[in-house]
Symmetry: C2
Subunit: 126 residues, 2 copies
DNA sequence: CGGCATCCGTAGCGATACTG
DNA sequence: CAGTATCGCTACGGATGCCG
């Protein structure tokens, strides 16, 4: 899928367009911060500041940037409560939930192979 | 999991260490090039140059760098055939295969929501 | 509180070239 | 063919400050 090159055949124009779009989406989504945000949101809906506290080490800027990107792709929904001070909440949409399931898989995988990987690292670094 | 902060409680020292390690692994793995390599390898074993051709747009440098990283974490195995010219092949290890399954999930997800996402983008950009 | 703009350092990444 | 090293440049990402 995401890895095929454009061979130049005119018949493949649509497939190629779909592929490059897929690749674009993949590049958007396959980054540390985006995935951590998806994972943190999970079932619940969180405020900006709550996300900031939940995700260790993320900066104000990266959080907004990635939230915008996720919103643009329709993975999170942003609702602004017109109070003062403002209250902005984020939730996963249905597509976002779908992605979250696969991210859950990655987290599970990480836990399962923690020890294995740590050992491999030590071996490699020697 | 990967998102919890260190609360300072001494009882949680081990959990915290495990978490930060998990986070480290997650950061290694949750990047575009690493995931594309994992996905490209899939079932088969590929040579360096084959990977380079398979993955559109990856540079020589990024490929070696990520392959080293994946090897270090024990996700890919690197076998050198002492021929001339040299022939170096890469395969997914068992943990690597495990990760690949979740990446497959992400790719499937991308395909499923391609149209939805494209629409959302157009709506957002207006 | 949350968002946007600005400034600025660092490191990510590509291009090139040299070895076994 | 594959790997390592070096040199740049860009763009990512953090810090700060000002608005609604």
């Amino acid at each position: 899928m995401v890895t095929k090159q454009y061979t130049g055949s005119p018949d493949e124009a649509d497939l190629t367009r779909a592929d490059s779009l897929a690749r674009e989406i993949f590049s958007d989504v396959a980054n540390k911060w985006a995935l951590l945000i998806i994972e943190s949101l999970g079932e619940h809906t969180l405020r900006f500041s709550e996300l900031r506290n939940e995700i260790e080490g993320i900066s104000h800027k990266m959080l907004t940037q990635n939230l915008r990107m996720l919103e643009r792709n329709g993975l999170v929904e942003r609702t602004v409560h017109p109070t003062v001070p403002p209250r902005v909440e984020y939730t996963l949409t249905e597509p976002g939930q779908g992605l979250r399931e696969t991210v859950d898989g990655m987290c599970g995988w990480t836990r399962r192979y923690l020890g294995h990987i740590e050992a491999s690292r030590h071996h490699f670094d020697a």
